[in-house]
């Protein structure tokens, strides 16, 4: 019989649940302390390991099931108090967690697997287990697979089967056993009633029968025993062969056949297609939630977005209707509709929000690993873990946060001796917190370490040509130099931080999300990095502007100010770049109608007339840029539609939206334009 079901889909579910399980194991292990073994916690960790082993074995991922078997045994010993929780043990188990995670990733995404570390970890586990070789999970296979070696030579078996009276109470039926025997060969059944049964005392739910069976089949004793496997504790069973010569040949082959059954090979090649939607917080099942594919949520959000647009279209009709009584009902209805649409949109947006705890929790492990590697003592304090953040923002913030935490541990918090010498507590504190502030989410990474050395930063920045020697900078400006490309304060590139990604990349990643990062540091006392992020990427508070015949949208948050630029105030520099002197600074200027090659028929009203030109000053990533527009229009919330998904990526445009009147308006990619202008400026100065 062949099962043509989609195993791939089931494998994906397995990978997803195992990844979640691994996270649960990891946080559980981090919660264990020597001498303080919470049995419930150990049980949870054991159960997860057990599930992963069982699933892996079932789906044929033998390597994982065999590896997890040792882990499970260790946990089982912990559970039954045969082993005490020790630092070493936790270390080995955490290593094993990494191995399993790696193996899962290798199967799922064809990722590179570090076989050495797996072998190494396996050896450590074996050593803990008293170097007993890990028994393969396959040894249990034979129990269900009654695939037995068929040997020639019909044997005749006499079987005496006398079940206990309570056999029916476990749901077993002798007739099923007989049917199974019948499938092996020719079967004769003789029933015998128990003799000493009084009719009045008969319990109809008890069994008062015994059977003698005669089976002619070319099978061995094991095949017959297998049929009685479930009831052998509940009966007297005698199996005897009348012609053992025929049976002798068969017995030798029996063990061999049992071991060759179902040694499944991991289906490596078929496991690398579509990834399952990334797992939500590990505890999702416990908090009464359901798992939904992210595509479905995005489809829902999209529809809600359309609804918002439709609603604003209708609202225009309502406005045009004037004061006539017939329309007042319509207007009231439209107002209610507007309120409900907004609420619906907010609720839908909420679905994409995940608590930041899912991202924070991994730092427990990271801090533990790094601080022990560096020989530093660090306590991690988390706060505001319930703060919710858009899933995409959360994912994109993950790497920058890891970088900041590594930096704090590596460069911020001092060695214990230094701390004591400086009169600080031996154990440093690293604080990760998240909270709402205005319409933004703030994430802070704060340490009580050495803080930034402004003097040294300034010196290095001069050495590396990030700033010129003559430039006068405030302390805060100097601190911000660490975000400049090509800047790293580490004297030697350490194993931990300083691996290619610098603070400039961190700042760029954050800017791409429409956020910003600030640093406050006091030498000797510590540093605090403050990241401010928009609540979501899917809607935007927009400023509508007109350029030529078209409407464009700026993110309100990116606009610093709008100025009316008098004619002749725009300077053209050598190399062709254009700047405007805004108070103290020169800022690069971009004419949107030129940038987007607009052939506009509309008169460039403000531009040509003597009172000047309208310029929107925007800021991203700490850099400002002036953009000429023709007219400022409304401000409104818009739903962002991706250009990339529906058309193709266009530089300078972050997306599009549909306005209430049905027209499409492009959303300006401020960070992109600012970067472009910066690059152009750099090219100019290189050329000059």
């Amino acid at each position: 019989m062949s099962i043509d079901m989609d195993m791939k889909e089931i494998h994906d579910i397995f990978f997803e649940e195992s990844e979640e399980g691994i996270d649960v194991m990891e946080s559980g292990l981090l919660g264990l302390e020597p001498g303080n073994a919470d049995p419930e916690l150990i049980n949870t960790i054991f159960r997860v390991a057990h599930s992963i082993k069982g699933g892996a074995a079932t789906f044929g991922f033998t390597a994982i099931s065999e590896f997890t078997h040792g882990v499970e045994t260790l946990l089982d010993q912990l559970r039954s108090n045969q082993r005490a929780v020790s630092e070493d043990l936790i270390e080995v188990l955490l290593g094993a967690v990494d191995c399993v995670r790696g193996m899962l990733a290798a199967l799922k995404d064809d990722a590179e697997l570090d076989l050495n570390s797996v072998t190494e970890c396996q050896e450590k586990i074996n050593a803990l287990l008293g170097s007993a070789p890990v028994t393969s999970a396959a040894d249990s296979v034979a129990d269900t697979d009654e695939v037995m070696a068929q040997r020639p030579g019909v044997k005749t078996w006499d079987i005496e089967f006398r079940p206990d009276a309570n056999i029916f109470k476990t749901g077993n039926e002798p007739i099923r056993i007989f049917r199974e025997l019948e499938s092996l060969g020719k079967l004769n059944v003789f029933a015998e009633l128990a003799e000493d049964v009084e009719f009045d005392s008969v319990d109809p739910e008890n069994c008062y029968c015994g059977w003698v069976l005669e089976l002619e089949a070319d099978v061995d004793a094991e095949a017959i025993e297998a049929a009685f496997e479930w009831v052998k504790e509940q009966c007297d069973l005698k199996i005897h062969c009348r012609n053992p010569q025929a049976a002798a040949a068969a017995d030798t082959g029996a063990v061999e056949s049992a071991n060759t059954v179902a040694q499944l090979e991991p289906p490596k090649s078929e496991s690398n297609a579509a990834k399952p939607a990334a797992a939500p917080a590990a505890a999702s099942r416990d908090s009464g939630s359901i798992r939904v594919n992210i595509d479905k949520i995005d489809a829902l959000l999209n529809l809600v977005g359309e609804l918002v647009i439709t609603q604003s279209m209708l609202a225009r009709f309502g406005e045009n209707g004037g004061e006539r009584g017939a329309n007042s009902g319509l207007r009231d209805g439209l107002m209610v509709l507007e309120r409900h649409t907004r609420e619906l949109q907010e609720s839908a947006m909420q679905i994409r929000m995940l608590p930041i705890s899912s991202s924070f929790s991994r730092f427990k492990r990271l801090v533990r690993d790094i601080s022990s590697k560096l020989g530093k003592k660090v306590e991690l304090v988390l706060s505001g873990e319930d703060t919710e953040l858009d899933k995409t923002v959360l994912e994109k913030m993950s790497d920058p946060l890891v970088h900041l935490v590594r930096n704090s541990l590596d460069h911020g918090i001092e060695m214990p001796e230094q701390r004591l010498a400086a009169g600080k507590p031996e154990v440093g504190t690293l604080k990760l917190s998240a909270y709402h502030e205005g319409g933004s989410i703030v994430i802070e990474v704060e340490d009580d370490g050495a803080g930034l050395n402004a003097k040294r930063i300034h010196q290095i920045a001069i050495e590396r040509g990030v700033v010129s020697e003559t430039e006068q900078l405030s302390e805060e400006q100097i601190h911000h130099l660490i975000f400049q490309p090509g800047f790293s304060t580490a004297e030697a590139v350490s194993d931990l931080s300083g691996r290619g990604v610098g603070m400039d990349v961190v700042r760029r990643n954050i800017a791409d999300l429409g956020g910003r990062i600030d640093i406050h540091s006091e030498q000797g006392k510590g540093s605090c990095l403050k990241i401010r992020l928009p609540l979501t990427l899917a809607i935007l508070d927009g400023q509508l502007v007109r350029v030529g015949d078209d409407v464009y949208i700026f993110s309100l948050r990116s606009i610093v100010e709008t100025v009316l630029v008098p004619p002749n105030q725009i300077k053209r520099l050598a190399g062709g770049s254009v700047v405007y002197r805004l108070r103290e600074d020169y800022i690069p200027v971009v004419r949107l109608r030129e940038r987007f090659n607009l052939n506009c028929s509309a008169p460039r009203k403000t531009y040509l007339e003597s009172d000047g030109e309208l310029m929107v000053v925007v800021e991203s990533d700490g850099k400002r840029l002036g953009l000429f527009v023709d007219e400022l229009l409304d401000q409104q919330q818009v739903v962002i539609k991706s250009l990339e998904e529906n058309y193709m990526p266009v530089t300078g445009l972050a997306g599009a939206t549909i306005l209430g009147d049905g027209n499409v308006a492009m959303i300006i990619d401020v960070p992109g334009l600012v970067r472009d202008a910066g690059d152009a400026k750099a090219n100019d100065s290189n050329a000059a």
Binding site: M5, A57, G60
Partner: protein, 120 residues
């Protein structure tokens, strides 16, 4: 054909069991822990119950004991699905009233075979 209740805390095993048995023509309902399984069994009649042993909230052994107390489940075949090849787990299952066991790893064919076996 038969109404089967599958209880397992692992979504992939649940899916494997229900997909396999549905293909074989059975109708399968599943529960993710013993408590949920018991509630389903209280409300519906099943021809076979398959349950994992290690589960949160209520484990498979407790579920089996509780099922045997239900009038509708007194003689229903209950199969314990577990990686535990050790005989003590099988024995504990039997003592709780389980009919038999399916040892993980199992493949779809062997699962169908075992179900056929208890359906007689």
């Amino acid at each position: 054909m038969a109404n089967i209740l599958a209880v397992d805390d692992s979504p992939s095993i649940r899916k494997l069991v229900s997909a396999t048995l549905s293909k074989a023509g059975h109708s399968v309902e599943s529960a993710s822990d013993g408590q949920e399984g018991l509630e389903l069994a209280e409300a519906n009649a099943y021809d076979v119950v398959i349950t994992d042993v290690h589960m949160p909230i209520m484990d498979g052994i407790t579920l089996t004991e509780n099922l045997r107390k239900l009038d509708t489940c007194r003689f229903t075949p209950i199969l314990i699905l577990t990686t535990e090849s050790a005989s003590d787990m099988k024995l504990r299952g039997k003592q709780a009233g389980a009919t038999g066991w399916i040892v993980k790893p199992f493949n779809p064919e062997s699962l169908i075979k075992v179900i056929d076996r208890v359906l007689g």
